[in-house]
């Protein structure tokens, strides 16, 4: 086979190595681009406020005697137990912060590639669709993980450190697994949600409308169906409510709605699977013009 003579280009004489983490450059670039967006760094910093507040609560919980004068009657609130971690990971403010950040830094993950016809450039490289999607998912995983899993683990460690003993661990030996499992579940959901929204359009504004529209629409539906049917199952329409229900299951606390938590788990899992199918279908190396 004759070699291709290219004007002005230099052939690389080395060997192509089989890199296992071929998705990493995509993730790394996505994270860098997100941080480069206006207001993202500010938003990201402020998103840690709930975690910092909870860290203060962990501290106070170990020094209740010293803070009795401001914590009157607050003993119950300041208890660090599975419900404490569950409440952090199901804060509405945290979900809102994640959505805002992902609107700034994640809405364009697939939408921008579609707009600028860059998908073909990716697949002109030795990259599979799985690598590409994993790379993009990695961006969402990074940001959601640093706002959920990492602070939750740090809060757990802080509790052990401030307590000065492993009593907390012995009291709830499964808690760290619950934190891990639920955080990962939440990360999976948000990754599927953001990538699905981003795959539905090449217009970033439209994607942001989809993200928030879907979220608020789900809340409104829950409210409307609850008023009509007065049934706890109306919570199945709401994203936040489903996550809270699943969290209750993972953390073995009383669920906020009177139905089995695994129904919400199943619903979110099906949603994630369907999102994956849609995203996989939408991402094509060749643009199909109808």
């Amino acid at each position: 086979m004759s070699s291709i003579r290219e004007k002005g280009y230099h052939h690389w004489e080395g060997q192509f190595l089989d890199k296992p983490r071929i998705f990493w450059p995509i993730t790394r670039t996505g994270i860098k681009l997100a941080f480069g967006r206006k207001h993202f760094k500010l938003g990201y910093t402020f998103s840690f406020l709930p975690a910092m507040t909870y860290a203060v609560i962990v501290y106070i919980s170990e020094r209740l005697e010293d803070f009795k004068f401001i914590a009157q009657g607050g003993d119950k609130l300041l208890q660090v137990n599975p419900n404490f971690f569950k409440s952090y990971l199901t804060l509405d403010l945290l979900y809102f912060a994640i959505l805002i950040l992902m609107s700034i830094g994640g809405a364009g993950l697939l939408a921008d590639d579609f707009r600028h016809k860059a998908v073909q450039l990716y697949f002109a490289r030795p990259l599979t669709k799985a690598d590409y999607l994993l790379g993009k998912a990695g961006v969402v995983i990074f940001f959601v993980g640093t706002l959920t899993l990492v602070p939750a683990i740090l809060l757990y460690i802080l509790k052990l450190l401030f307590a000065g003993s492993f009593a907390f661990f012995l009291e709830y030996p499964w808690l760290i697994l619950s934190i891990l499992a639920f955080s990962l579940f939440m990360i999976l959901f948000f990754t599927a949600f953001i990538l699905l929204a981003s795959s539905l359009s090449n217009n970033r504004n439209y994607v942001i409308s989809i993200i928030f529209g879907f979220y608020f629409f789900s809340e409104i539906l829950r409210g409307i169906f609850f008023v009509i049917f007065r049934s706890p199952f109306s919570a199945l329409f709401s994203i936040a409510a489903n996550l809270k229900q699943v969290a209750a299951g993972f953390f073995q606390v009383k669920p906020p709605y009177d139905y089995p938590w695994y129904l919400s788990f199943l619903l979110i899992s099906v949603f994630c699977f369907l999102s994956y199918l849609v995203v996989k279908h939408k991402v094509r190396g060749v643009e199909v013009i109808k």
Binding site: R5, K7, G8, I289, K290
Partner: protein
């Protein structure tokens, strides 16, 4: 008599980056080409002429009237932007007719003009297809069509031959020349000298926001010819080739690249050099793998003109 397009002390910058600097020029009827490498300021000048950008200093006038926020001028002006951007949900015909409706033409006149424009750019067959399904060349042609559909007196064409195949290029060049013959004023920008050569002999050279030369195309060609050219030849017989050509009077310098098996010739007469090279290849057993011209581009000319 005032020129059709006038620019007086025109300057425009983007933050700290200079777009154009103290541009003074007059453009009359006929085809004028703005020639310059990427980032020279051609598009900036065209955007000022078409009311997209304001000037920081100076002013631009068309038919004696200021351009910025003066919508009446745009009845007589047609603009073909460089960007490949459309209302993708529309068909080619709808795109043209819709933009024509913004001029205030009646529905019937819009349709008629749209059809005429489509015929001129040879897109009648695909008029009812969505623009998103058009090839690169079709998209470029529909852009030109929207600039000419309302029969303007002035045409501003930003890189109109981008993305066109050689046949389409010839057709568009012919069309532009027909417009010129009907008395229109056309300003065309490009960074490709042969394209400009085919269109006009009136050229303005722009570099780093300034006009560095204005004149006849042959003047530019002479500059290129007097400026020494480098030609790199890769061959297993590079030394023999050099030996054969060493005696030629149009050769100024020969340099070897032994590791690449190549030799670089510097000459001030490319035509004679290539004629001789062809003779050698045809009459001898010398094999040539590759011929490149490291400086055969406009940038080299500009570098020469600005004294690099």
């Amino acid at each position: 008599m005032t020129a059709v397009i006038e620019a007086r002390n025109l300057s425009r910058w983007y933050g700290n980056v200079l777009g154009i600097s103290d541009l003074n020029l007059e453009i009359n009827q006929g085809i004028t080409a703005l020639l310059g490498p990427n980032g020279a300021g051609k598009s900036t000048f065209m955007k000022i002429l078409t009311g997209q950008l304001k000037t920081n200093i100076g002013e631009a006038r068309i038919f004696g009237e200021k351009v910025w926020n003066n919508r009446h001028i745009f009845r007589r002006l047609g603009f073909c932007p460089e960007d490949d951007a459309f209302y993708e949900d529309l068909s080619g015909f709808e795109f043209l007719a819709g933009l024509l409706s913004l001029y205030g033409f009646s529905h019937a006149e819009c349709n008629q003009r749209a059809r005429q424009a489509l015929e001129l750019v040879e897109l009648t067959d695909v008029a009812d297809r969505k623009v998103r399904s058009y090839s690169r060349g079709m998209r470029q042609r529909i852009k030109i069509a929207q600039a000419i559909a309302h029969d303007p007196e002035v045409l501003i064409l930003d890189e109109p031959l981008n993305g066109l195949d050689p046949l389409s290029k010839r057709r568009i060049i012919k069309l532009i020349k027909e417009f010129k013959n009907s008395g229109k004023t056309i300003v065309v920008s490009s960074h490709i000298l042969p394209e400009v050569e085919a269109l006009t002999s009136e050229i303005i050279l722009i570099h780093q926001g300034k006009i560095i030369a204005r004149g006849d195309i042959y003047f530019i060609r002479d500059l290129i010819d007097t400026h020494p050219h480098m030609i790199r030849v890769k061959s297993p017989h590079f030394r023999q080739l050099a030996q054969t050509l060493a005696g030629e009077d149009y050769l100024l310098k020969i340099a070897f690249e032994p590791s690449e098996q190549a030799v670089v010739f510097e000459t001030h007469d490319r035509d004679r050099f290539f004629n001789r090279l062809n003779e050698i290849v045809l009459t001898s057993s010398l094999v040539i793998d590759e011929i490149t011209s490291p400086d055969d581009n406009l940038q080299a000319v500009f570098d020469y003109l600005v004294g690099k």
